[in-house]
Symmetry: C2
Subunit: 541 residues, 2 copies
């Protein structure tokens, strides 16, 4: 096959040349052909040039898996390799995490997601010296199929997750009909752009012994490799869990999931920080929030709704917590008489998420903690709710000089978080009744004090994760407030009209998924919890 | 409050004028003020000008719910109004669906989502004639709080979902301390842009007796009202169910949910049909599919992934089944030896969705069926898989003239769907092994016949809902195929590079959520199952 591939690539190169005459395309094809040739050589080198190799059929680089056949072979998960499987001959597919040759032996660490196991290929009755050499030369990160004997070990293998067993790819008290084999399913290039072990080293440990840590941009540039680390695997499994816990909790509360459009005709909140899209012969925008649509669903009798989806902000903020595209976990619900019904619904949802993570994702939390140590996340039940004025009083007591109707700066939010943690021992709380002046036009004013509003933020470890409010459900008051904010009524006409045909009192909020994950795990950069982050300077991969 | 609101609006108008001098803003404010005045008059008209009205405190238009107080009042759901609640005094919040005055009585139908109940306000010891007049004058679609007695009825009320009880807003064998009350929580404007009963009338029944049906554009223009119909409520609850069943099934199979970016730096498949976004000082695109990112996750060891999110197509197609933005249910998984493992995983997921809908959403299916009758959806277990050549043979037998490597036209897909239904009695099947020439460059060629490929489409009622394939997981072959398709390698460099460091064989597919809902329910336009559809001509609401 390798030969065919070389020829194929050359033919393709000819085709490309005659068709397009593009030098670049030709060069690429030549490069591809060269690479194929190199690989063929590699296979030839390692594989049986030696006709006398008695094990020659039991290792090598077979044809690419192209669904040639349906093999009736069970592949055991690395995680399942425990002493119960001792003395069984099994097949496993895994990556070569490390390989170390030592005389007539080769030790491999085989990795599958967060789990790894040691394997030994040793010259013996079943493994030839050529086979051991082949195993020793497999590039790191290649994917291999291995048939081996599971053996209990006397001394725990501290460097692997499967500490009590080892895989033996050699003859060792075997029936003569039994084989041991090792085949490369997908060959990695010999030079990796970064090393996995460097990616999981705790910050600050890089300098000892000249060992490297990898900077964030290099990691993000090579995200496919960076995501293979135990830390990344744990982070994104936990993130998947947050979404699931969020939805399951709300579904159990009778919420309906909705899908809201991301391409919208008008920028609702004045047009700042919004991305423009070319839309056939006109222009459109990317939604900064699903809020208007959530509210329309409330006006359309869906009563309690949620959605999970991308949110776009064209903000030129290059900070640890801003992304231009992130995932919003959005909630909106009608309430009966008081918007605290909404706050309780949201805080209870958050508490269910925190409990679910604590109970079901302890392994992931521990794994991330090895690289990024942090205090366990603390929360109260029921959730602490402070009024804005109380927060301001606490800050003033701590020496902060600020006005009653002034918004909280980011440093003050952080400081307040620390003060709250000291006083109430919680990393999660609600700050309620923000000054009306610092909130959007659709926020319901406080009925008793026109300086304040029925609005709230929620904080994790002193950083905002949710902003929400009782919304104005009356078209007339909404019009008044929009005018007060100098908003072009023409642009929000359909929004305001939504409230003309009977609208229940309602409220809600939007949660940033990445922030929740970052702050729950005590991480310090939102890019760590976004698989393929987007910021003003990053659009790839 | 109403008076204050009038004054407030006038003041706002003054402010707006002096601030911006915009005539339009002023006009809007005047309009708002006028409307407020009108509403005040309405309230005054209906409410107790008559000082002798003994019931005057028990009806009216109270202050807007602005969270003035936490009322300790239980609101009973309309759905729960059954004979078990007979002779209890309850509070309910619902919309006035219809109201009909008849002498000293007024019959209201109160609606809450899919459920409704009849209420009777009659002049008597507790209800004054003014109170009955007030009830009779409440605009349709207004939201009311009603305190009433639940009474069993002798004859079933055929026009309501709660057929065995009625609400009595009148004194009737009550303790003297007990009240009955009716308050308007949110007043609808007197003229609705469309009537709910016209929106749920089956097609074709419009002309009899001069009754109207409402055309789709009018309904979509007024989606907040159109979504209140029993049909819409059922459709979108079922859609929420499809998403939940999809995710739950995959989570149980060990899949991880991923979040992929929607703003991307390069249009992967040649740049046709892609929306352009202004991204700070450069340009970006909206993702036509999360496929490349799903595949990168597979290369990053997530093994089995899914995502649910918006997908964008800048296609100027104005058909019953095309949207420019729709929701993709996407799956990608590594497999061991044959891509049929992938097909089986996907078809099993679809079967779990079909079963879940059949078992848990029968009410919704029936409700939609009343307006849009269709045959129940049929499926087999295991799912029928036909090869492309078999499909072509069936079509040829039915008189269609087509080549071996020709793609299926939409009419031929439909025809094949009918032929398959006749022969196998299933509305869901897989067509496997498409001609290589009609599939994207990353499709794995068939190992045995280079005319074909390891790719498949899935169909519901003869329309495609999923397109998928084994993907090429080898950088070299991928390069060759990209060159063959004249794709600029520079633009897909990071995609191809993803496969250079060990990649398992894998495959997957993308399902259109709206198409699944449309076809499962036997509907005929994808806009019916998109809450706020986007097409080349529609960007609002």
């Amino acid at each position: 096959m390798t030969k065919d591939a070389v020829q194929g690539a050359a033919e393709e190169a000819d085709q490309a040349q005659s068709k397009k005459g593009l030098k670049k395309q030709q060069k690429e094809a030549e490069k591809a052909a060269k690479k194929a040739e190199k690989q063929a050589k590699l296979a030839a080198d390692t594989q049986s040039t030696d006709e006398d190799d008695f094990a020659k059929d039991r290792y090598g680089v077979p044809q690419m898996v192209q669904s040639q056949q349906k093999l009736d072979r069970v592949l055991v998960r690395v995680q399942k390799l425990t002493p119960e499987k001792a003395d069984q001959l099994i097949w496993v597919r895994a990556r070569v995490h490390t390989s170390r040759a030592k005389g007539k032996q080769c030790f491999l660490v085989l990795r599958q997601q967060q789990f790894n196991v040691q394997a030994l290929v040793a010259v013996g009755e079943r493994a030839s010296k050529q086979m051991v050499k082949f195993a020793a030369n497999i590039n790191k990160e290649s994917i291999v199929d291995v048939e081996a004997m599971v053996r209990k070990v006397e001394q725990k293998i501290e460097s692997c997750t499967q500490q009590d067993v080892e895989l033996h790819i050699e003859r060792f008290n075997l029936e003569s009909t039994v084989n041991v084999e090792i085949f490369v399913i997908s060959q990695a290039e010999p030079r990796l752009p970064l090393q996995l072990e460097d990616c999981v080293r705790p910050d600050g440990e890089g300098d000892e012994d000249g060992r490297a840590t990898v900077n964030q941009d290099t990691r993000l540039d090579n995200r496919v490799i960076d995501l293979r680390t135990t830390t990344s695997q744990a982070i994104f499994r936990l993130q998947s869990g947050v979404c699931q816990l969020f939805r399951d909790t709300l579904t159990n509360k009778g919420f309906v999931e909705i899908q809201t459009p991301k391409i919208i005709s008008a920028a609702s909140e004045g047009g700042a920080n919004v991305f423009t899209v070319s839309y056939f012969k006109t222009s459109a925008y990317l939604a900064q929030s699903p809020q208007l649509y959530k509210q329309m669903c409330i006006c359309a009798d869906f009563d309690k709704v949620f959605c999970v989806g991308p949110v776009f902000r064209a903000e030129d903020s290059n900070t640890h917590r801003h992304l231009t595209e992130f995932v919003g976990l959005d909630i909106e619900l009608a309430f009966n008489y008081h918007y605290h019904e909404v706050i309780e619904s949201i805080t209870d949802t958050m508490v269910q998420i925190f409990k679910g993570l604590r109970d079901k994702f302890q392994t992931e939390i521990q794994t991330v903690g090895k690289q990024y140590p942090s205090e366990p996340f603390r929360f109260l039940e029921p959730t602490l709710r402070l009024e804005y004025t109380e927060g301001v009083a606490m800050l003033r007591e701590a020496g902060v000089d600020m006005g009653d109707e002034e918004d909280l700066s980011t440093p003050n939010e952080k400081l307040l978080g620390r003060l709250v943690k000291e006083k109430y021992d919680t990393d999660f709380y609600v700050l309620d009744k923000y000054p009306l002046a610092v909130r959007p036009f659709y926020t319901m004013p406080d009925p008793n004090d026109k300086k304040y509003s029925n609005s709230y933020d929620m904080f994790m470890r002193g950083e905002e994760i949710l902003s929400g409010a009782q919304r104005i459900h009356d078209a007339q008051l909404l019009t008044e407030r929009a005018i007060h904010h100098n908003i072009d009524l023409e642009k929000i006409k359909s929004y305001i009209d939504s409230f003309r045909y009977g609208a229940p009192p309602h409220g809600g909020g939007g949660i940033g998924l990445e922030r929740v994950c970052m702050l729950y795990l005590g991480l310090h950069n939102v890019r760590q919890v976004s698989m393929f982050p987007r910021d003003p300077k990053r659009l790839t991969p």
